[in-house]
């Protein structure tokens, strides 16, 4: 079982879409929201995803295809 921390950023048109619920229904992924900031114009959610690495990758691709921006929560650690 792998665990990945990601940040989803939603634009206005996607705010009402239950993307995270669908992600958990369509894929064998446990979604666990840790922090979020959602307004009626935009929103971001930081969450932990648990499942097989490949299943998580497929799920994230599906999320991207729906127009949600996906970024890793680990920030750059390589410094100058």
């Amino acid at each position: 079982m792998d665990s990945v921390r990601v940040k989803f950023t939603f634009v206005e048109e996607l705010i009402k879409e239950p993307i995270i619920w669908k992600l958990a229904k369509e894929f064998e992924i446990v979604t666990n929201i840790r922090r979020a900031d959602v307004t009626d114009a935009r929103g971001w959610v930081i969450l932990e995803l648990q499942g097989d690495r490949e299943e998580i990758e497929r799920g994230l691709e599906w999320v991207r295809e729906h127009g949600v921006r996906v970024d890793p929560v680990y920030e750059d650690v390589v410094e100058g």
Partner: protein, 418 residues
């Protein structure tokens, strides 16, 4: 005895014991060192600081490590110099340069690594590690050598030889990773989870970052216990930017200086400017970028402290700017030719960024402005070399010299009477 009390989540405020950890287990927010300020207030004074060592450890009361245990290779208390020539050029009456090129490994990273290595040894780590393209690698290698620790330094495989030597000389285990920048990032994040090593910018990051505060303390002390009106700081992760501000605020809270509402402005290279971009969009949302700039020491596309840097610039009525690579070179040359200070590319970003901020009216001519130069130019010679004139090539005769000189520089002075 350090007055550091807990690690506190910057998002949800949960406290954790002082341990090697950088992320809140509850909300994944970043952790920051929290101090017992009442205890600090009882002991600290200007006199106590002034009689301390001529290094950053004169401020040990405000650092999360004990001074007696410090891994101190002579870092800090670097020159703050008045810059009248550059000031005239830019239209500023009271411009100062904080020259952090003067640190032992020639960059401000010695400040953060001095704290990180001290704390790492107190936590009984035997290995100091980092992922770096230059300055951080140099500093980690040097401090590990001094501390008698092993160093594991991860660099991209295509790094220039000159930068590798600046680390290799201290005897670390240098690991050249075959892969993209993102691959190096991911590998080091995974290694940080797997091995009991002190990765200075991962698991001991909360302590490491505190070292940057000393730049704020020093500038205030060197201005005669006065805060600057405006600081111009290069931004990579954004950590340095926020910590200089924190340092100035702490001195004011503790009554060592008067609060003057110091403004904080940050500069980035256009080819990697996620923080300046969010500022210009008037957004709190940092969009990660793929870095493409000669200012490699600032090339962090997904900055850990970007949000907090935005908050600092908005809270302080400061701003952000970004400059092209050509302007970076211009900035390096301008500083060198007016004040005799040879900065690395990050310094070029700061000087050109300052020029832009002045032209746009964000910096007032009569403000006490401090520009932070965080690394020495010999580290990034290849960036500036193509823009410089080659030496005059002459034969060993007076005629040859005079001809070559006048072709380039114009008439020679009148000869001395004999």
């Amino acid at each position: 005895m350090s007055a550091a009390k807990t690690l506190r989540c910057r998002e949800c405020g949960r406290d954790y014991p002082l341990q090697p950890s950088n992320v809140c287990e509850f909300c994944f927010g970043p952790l920051e060192v929290f101090y017992d300020y009442d205890a600090i207030r009882r002991v600290i004074s200007r006199e106590r600081i002034e009689t301390g060592p001529p290094t950053m450890w004169r401020y040990h009361d405000l650092l999360p490590a004990d001074a007696e245990a410090a891994i101190d290779i002579g870092t800090g208390y670097t020159p703050l110099v008045r810059a009248p020539n550059l000031g005239r050029e830019l239209g500023l009456e009271r411009l100062y340069i904080k020259n952090d090129c003067a640190n032992p490994t020639w960059s401000f990273k010695d400040r953060v690594v001095s704290v990180a290595s001290t704390v790492a040894r107190q936590f009984e780590f035997d290995t100091l590690a980092c992922a770096s393209t230059g300055n951080l690698a140099n500093s980690v290698s040097a401090h590990a050598a001094r501390a008698g620790m092993r160093a594991a330094v991860f660099i991209p495989a295509d790094l220039e030889t000159s930068k590798v030597i600046g680390s290799a000389v201290y005897g670390p285990t240098l690991v050249a990773v075959d892969g993209s920048y993102d691959d190096v990032n991911r590998l080091c994040s995974e290694l940080g989870d797997k091995y009991p090593w002190a990765f200075v910018n991962i698991n001991v990051r909360p302590y490491y970052a505190e070292g940057s505060k000393t730049l704020g303390y020093e500038v205030c002390e060197q201005l005669g216990w006065r805060a600057p009106d405006h600081c111009i700081v290069p931004m990579a992760s954004g950590s340095l930017f926020t910590k200089i501000y924190k340092g100035i605020k702490e001195l004011a809270w503790l009554g060592l200086i008067d609060w003057r509402g110091t403004r904080m402005s940050g500069a980035q290279a256009l080819g990697c400017s996620p923080i300046a971009d969010a500022y210009e969009r008037d957004s709190w949302n940092i969009r990660p970028q793929k870095p493409n700039t000669i200012a490699k020491s600032l090339a962090i596309g997904n900055p850990a402290d970007g949000y907090y840097a935005l908050k600092t610039m908005r809270d302080s009525n400061g701003g952000a700017t970004s400059v092209t690579d050509d302007e970076v070179i211009e900035g390096i040359r301008l500083l060198a030719e007016t004040e005799g200070i040879f900065a690395e590319t990050a310094g070029g970003v700061v000087i050109s960024g300052l020029r832009k901020l002045v032209r746009e009216g964000h910096v007032a001519p009569d403000e006490v402005v401090v520009a932070f130069i965080t690394g020495a130019g010999l580290k990034t010679q290849e960036a500036v070399a193509p823009a410089l004139q080659p030496p005059l090539a002459v034969a060993a005769t007076i005629e040859s010299f005079e001809q070559a000189f006048e072709e380039r520089e114009g008439a020679l002075p009148l000869t001395k009477a004999v």
